[in-house]
Amino acid sequence: MSIDVGPVADFEERRFRIVNAGGHELGVLRWQDRFFAVHNRCPHQKGPLCLGIVSGRLVGRAPGSMEVDDDVPVIACPWHGWEFDLERGRALWEEGYAAKVVPVRVERGRVLVDVGRSARDPAV
């Protein structure tokens, strides 16, 4: 089920906006003109995931190096700092552990989320 959560202009770059979509509390993020949506609930202890820090994935190519990969937006839960990539929801330390992301798209200037399907569904 596609739900309209507002015009693109309402979404500030790199900042989650919490929306109610068909009874689901989602965080929707605009990131370099791409959109990501995730349930606002950390799989660890059910913390408000989208209130955490958003950043590009921090990468260390060698001990002591610190780089940002802006192609991979990451949310760190505000409660314990557990990090999840927003494209597929996967925890950064284990692919099998994930936050629940949902498909999101833009049509005619509106942001639509599809709460009936998982963004990790290969058909999406």
């Binding site: 660890h44 001990p63 990090e83 330390w93």
Partner: protein, 373 residues
């Protein structure tokens, strides 16, 4: 009871007097040590420490002809090498193992070099079952690395040993990395032996110094925990992917607790150390071995076994007696504490894997009279 072949990962060989080691010092350092006239010699060993009320040695290990426990080959041979089906014993030095606790780094460098030469000439030449650790003075890691490389072509110098901490940072700190580069390059594991803080500089215990040997020995694993966490957090195993680490005389029952916590911390704090690419427990599983001694005594035998099993340590544990120290674990004793299906792994196979020995080669009986030089 286990009666198969055994490798002992922690045997403390000692010198009987200072003259033994002074012989291996350069002429200049010999003059430095012995030239003080009536003031006596400059001490060769670090003077810090706490007395063990029993003494540090098993009472029956003092050689009959006099001298220090671990200093007399015939006694060590009778009590240890020939007392079971021992195929290899890895020598780990006595008081000299604390040489990284010396304040004078140049003197420590010379002592490390002398100790290693003494170990080769006075011990390895006497019995093909003996292998030695390479002592290094980690005060000056580049010099320590050169000492490791000096033994690169001697396959019986089997590991690089760190004990005291001269620089105050965990052993994963980049300042120590030259040692690990040399260890990886020469294919030697790095061994961290219990007491791996230094008695006083810095303390071997977290939170503050303790006052009795009772406290210090109970908390022996703390320093090893610090160094293990430091190794992984600083990405040592990412930087040196073929490096192996062996933790000696720190016990093992604490490992699951530490790694469970460490993994959890990684999930929340990865941002601080993005060069750490995997869960800490994964690095541990791939790179770290653990000596068996002292096996913690749980109220029920199965409790400690369950902890060991939870981290698959039965494939990483290496039997270590700690001979001739007071708290040594006997083979017979340990074999009653461990499940029978672990025996060949813990007493023999795991050490073969760590040190690159071929089990079938070690199982061939070599008459000791066939001296290996």
């Amino acid at each position: 009871m286990y009666s198969g072949p055994v490798i002992d990962g922690d045997v403390h060989h000692a010198r009987n007097n200072d003259a033994e080691l002074i012989e291996y010092l350069s002429r200049g350092w010999r003059e430095y040590v012995t030239g003080r006239g009536r003031a006596g010699m400059v001490p060769l060993t670090v003077q810090d420490g706490m007395p063990n009320p029993h003494g540090f040695m098993r009472a029956n290990t003092y050689p009959e002809g006099g001298g220090e426990p671990g200093s007399d080959y015939p006694t060590l041979r009778a009590q240890l090498l020939d007392a079971s089906d021992l195929r290899r014993a890895i020598l780990t030095f006595g008081d000299d193992s604390h040489l990284a606790g010396h304040h004078n780094p140049y003197f420590a460098n010379e002592l490390a070099r002398a100790c290693n030469d003494w170990s080769i000439e006075r011990w390895l030449t006497r019995d093909p079952r003996l292998a030695s650790s390479i002592m290094v003075a980690s005060q000056m890691p580049e010099v320590a690395a050169a000492e490791v490389r000096r033994h690169a072509t001697n396959p019986r110098m089997v590991q690089v040993m760190l004990v005291d901490n001269p620089l105050g940072y965990g052993f994963g700190h980049p300042v120590f990395h030259p040692i690990y580069a040399a260890a990886e390059e020469t294919g030697r594991p790095v061994a961290i032996h219990g007491g791996a803080g230094g008695w006083a500089n810095p303390p071997s215990t977290g939170g503050g110094s303790v006052n009795t040997y009772f406290e210090a020995h109970t908390l022996w694993p703390q320093a090893i925990q610090t160094h293990l966490v430091s190794f992984i957090a600083h990405g040592v195993f990412e930087k040196y992917p073929r490096l192996r680490l062996v933790l000696i005389e720190g016990g093992s029952a604490w490992i699951p607790s530490l790694l469970w916590r460490f993994d959890t911390e990684y999930k929340g704090l990865r941002r601080e150390v993005p060069w750490v690419k995997r869960l800490p427990s994964e690095y541990f599983a791939e790179h770290v071995w653990v000596s068996s001694q002292p096996l913690e005594i749980s109220p029920k035998r199965d409790q400690v076994i369950e902890l060991i099993r939870s981290m698959h340590l039965e494939d990483k544990l290496i039997y270590a007696s700690d001979y001739p120290h007071w708290d040594a674990d006997e083979i017979d004793y340990l074999s009653t504490r461990l499940p029978a299906e672990w025996h060949s792994r813990v007493f023999f196979d795991n050490a073969c894997r760590l040190y690159g020995w071929k089990p079938e080669e070690l199982k061939k009986r070599v008459p000791v009279e066939e001296r290996v030089t």
